[in-house]
């Protein structure tokens, strides 16, 4: 009897073990580097929900892409660089290997640039990470479309110029940059310094240290003293809500305070609510749920899948959704090119590099107004038309108030190439030719 039981158990274990690779072969594995706990959870939860919901929706509606379902596995990073890298190492070989990864942290992205290239896993860093990775000749495995930190900064300056009646009106004006003293927060500074020199405005940098994210009095006292014409606000997490409260307390005009796209979520403004009314933040996608794609997502929710009711339509939910949509689209492109449904990381990289999301295609996907037109090339992993939208908080919700504001690519691209060339030299990389 005992022998029979043991034999049955051994058979069951053997069957289960052999079933795992069979299942894995029929799927595209995507690790989800979420941060649903800790200080950054209010931002991390909607981001992860939007990302997972889009893939789950495709699984539910279409059986994945080209009939191959997505296999998702979450790993909690707590928005910490070391844990992000640990998650990458832990998950990268699961389910026959990851085919693409979004690190959702500039620090983690910096830590993974070389590892991911070696493992042949493309990184999709949507508007964050290393800006000069936009030079695809030096960074073939990193993609930072639809616009980089530097492009966004230049769009912000262009917008200020528009409000003032021309870029020439910037001469002699004062702009304070309140930024998180962290790789991401410091990233746009070189571009802004160059633009300050070019257009003659004075830029006053006010970094906010980690321990001061929730207590920024000294920063805003300096803003009160300097009385800048505009404040550019590059925060993250609690720094955003604290900064907005302090700005309101010193009576700084909210419509002259411009946040980058990591300072423009619901969680950032809700603690201030009415006091933050008029605050503007940049964005790389639309706001709300008035897009056809949400019909499919609601159907998926009705079937008991995904994250129903949790932040759907919030700014960061939509960002996660758009992030997933880009990846799925790149897979469609790769499947067509290679003539096979099951893709490798290398195939997906090709798809990302040849991504051409046109207006018509966006409409087909039900994402009109939510996702920008994007064309990626071998040289340019940022996309050839980087631009940003402006959204404004009305005390209850975000409203898009501008058309797409193009980046100053004539200024930004040479900086990108210069920085990438320096990286290539320091790391003995011979840039590939794209022609």
């Amino acid at each position: 009897m005992i022998l029979r039981t043991l034999t049955l158990a051994a058979t069951a274990v053997a069957t289960l073990a052999s079933a795992v690779p069979a299942m894995a072969e029929g799927g595209h594995f995507i690790p989800v580097m979420s941060y649903r706990t800790g200080p950054y959870a209010p931002n991390g939860v909607p981001f992860a929900n939007g990302y997972v919901d889009y893939f789950e929706m495709l699984n539910h509606r279409d059986g994945g892409v080209g009939g191959v379902p997505f296999i998702l596995e979450e790993c909690e990073t707590g928005y910490k660089t070391d844990r992000g890298i640990e998650c990458y190492d832990r998950l990268k070989n699961n389910n026959n290997g990851a085919v693409v990864l979004s690190p959702w942290s500039t620090g983690t992205t910096y830590g993974l640039i070389e590892k991911a290239a070696k493992d042949e896993i493309p990184l999709v860093t949507l508007g964050y990470g290393r800006t000069s990775a936009a030079d695809g000749r030096v960074f073939p495995w990193v993609f930072n479309f639809p616009a980089t930190y530097w492009s966004q900064a230049s769009s912000m300056v262009r917008y200020i110029g528009q409000e003032m009646g021309g870029l020439d009106k910037l001469k002699g004006k004062k702009i304070s940059l309140v930024h998180f003293d962290h790789p991401g927060g410091r990233e746009p500074i070189p571009t802004l310094e160059l633009l300050a020199e070019k257009y003659g405005f004075k830029m006053n940098k006010l970094p906010v240290a980690l321990s001061s994210l929730s207590e920024q009095k000294s920063t805003w006292l300096q803003v009160r003293k300097n009385r800048p014409d505009y404040v550019l606000f590059f925060g993250w997490g609690v720094m955003n809500s604290t900064g907005l409260k302090e700005a309101a307390a010193i009576r700084y005009p909210m419509d002259k305070m411009l946040g980058w796209w990591w300072s423009g979520a619901e969680a950032d403004v809700q603690p201030s609510a009415e006091a933050a009314k008029g605050y503007k933040a940049f964005s790389m996608h639309g706001a709300g749920i008035e897009y056809p794609v949400f019909d499919s997502i609601k159907e998926m929710h009705a079937a008991g899948k995904g994250y129903e009711g949790e932040a759907m339509g919030d700014v960061l939910y939509n960002r996660g959704l758009v992030n997933a949509a880009y990846i799925a689209e790149a897979m469609v492109v790769a499947q067509k090119h290679f003539g096979r449904a099951q893709l490798t990381g290398s195939d997906v990289r090709w798809g990302l590099e040849n991504l051409d999301v046109t207006k018509e295609r966006i409409e087909e996907l039900g994402l009109t107004g939510l996702m920008p037109v994007t064309k990626v090339t071998c040289e340019n992993h940022e996309g050839t038309t980087p631009a940003a939208l402006v959204q404004q908080w009305d005390g209850k919700k975000w409203n898009i108030i501008s058309d797409w504001i193009p980046a100053m690519s004539d200024v930004v691209r040479p900086l990108v190439e210069q920085d990438a060339a320096l990286y290539a030299k320091e790391n003995n990389i011979t840039p590939r030719t794209c022609s």
Partner: protein, 313 residues
């Protein structure tokens, strides 16, 4: 030469030229210091009575605020929510004593410290499990406007004034309680020597429950003050970072020390950041507070008001 001028002359000239702004910076710093002190008080209470550096104090602030705002969001009246949260923090104190501390009596201080790290992780996860990870705005009617004084040249936030008054009241009650009540004397006896306190009949377990419950109460008050400013969110636990230099400066065993330390650190770091920050690329307040604390330690290792350390050999 230019650097020396920027360092020694320019900031002083700036202060002299705009004394109202200097006054505003100092007042804002003092107000921030009060907020640090509120968090620091919880550390002092537990260290004073049990010799444990409670790593979980920052998370206790968060946990108390989460329960308070969570109950309020469920429709409970603020006063009932406050009382209920005090009860929750007392039950938590009892659980910590029963499950963790009782088993570690007379263990090395480092082990007790490590156990509080475990408590911090548990509370953070447990709080999130019950109340979720979203930011929860907190409005209990604490004034949130600003007042201008000195002919409108100096701005003060009313919420800061309220926090200052609350901290003053809290400190007075605690200081009097420690000095004049039987429980207060017992707390001090336990702080001096666990075994000696036990030998004269002081119930160590009860004392620990009381002190952790009082620290929980202080955490609740601090959590409400910070929550009103920031909304209740998990970042509130980061404010503990601000309390550390306050403790080093004020001494780990002194309640007035936590307040005075907070005021010195608060005002000092704001003045340093505003007038000298740009010379060092900004964000100097992160390390400036520790430099001030270390300078004090050079001359008074026990902190400003800490008990003098005497070891008999």
């Amino acid at each position: 030469m230019e650097f020396l001028s920027d360092f020694f002359v320019a900031p002083i000239m700036e202060m002299v030229d705009a004394p109202e702004f200097l006054a505003e910076v100092i007042i804002a710093g003092l107000m921030s210091g009060v907020m640090y002190s509120l968090v620091g008080l919880g550390f002092v209470l537990i260290f004073k009575a049990s010799g444990i550096f409670n790593f979980a104090q920052g998370v206790m602030v968060l946990f108390a605020a989460l329960n308070f705002v969570g109950l309020m969001d469920s429709g409970v009246h603020p006063i009932i929510a406050f009382i209920a949260t005090v009860v929750i923090m007392t039950v938590l104190a009892m659980a910590i004593e029963r499950v963790v501390l009782r088993r570690l009596v007379n263990q090395n201080q480092l082990i007790l410290f490590m156990s509080t790290i475990g408590i911090a992780f548990f509370l953070e996860g447990f709080g999130e499990l019950i109340w979720g990870g979203n930011v929860r705005p907190l409005d209990i009617g604490i004034p949130d406007d600003v007042v201008f004084i000195a002919n409108g040249t100096i701005l003060i936030q009313e919420a800061d004034l309220f926090a200052g008054a609350t901290a003053a009241l809290l400190v007075t009650i605690l200081a009097l309680g420690f000095r004049y009540t039987a429980v207060g004397r017992a707390l001090r006896a336990v702080a001096d020597d666990h075994q000696a306190a036990l030998s004269i009949g002081i119930p160590l377990n009860n004392i620990w429950v009381i002190v952790w419950a009082v620290a929980g109460f202080v955490a609740l008050v601090a959590g409400i003050m910070w929550g009103t400013k920031l909304g209740v969110q998990f970042s509130i636990s980061i404010v503990a970072l601000k309390a550390l230099p306050v403790l080093i400066l004020g001494g780990f065993t002194s309640i007035p020390g936590a307040i005075i330390g907070g005021l010195i650190i608060g005002a000092g770091e704001k003045v340093a950041e505003v007038y000298w920050g740009s010379l060092f690329g900004g964000a100097i307040e992160e390390w400036f507070a520790y430099i001030v604390a270390l300078l004090f330690l050079l001359f008074r290792p026990q902190g400003l008001f800490g008990e003098k350390i005497i070891d008999r050999v």
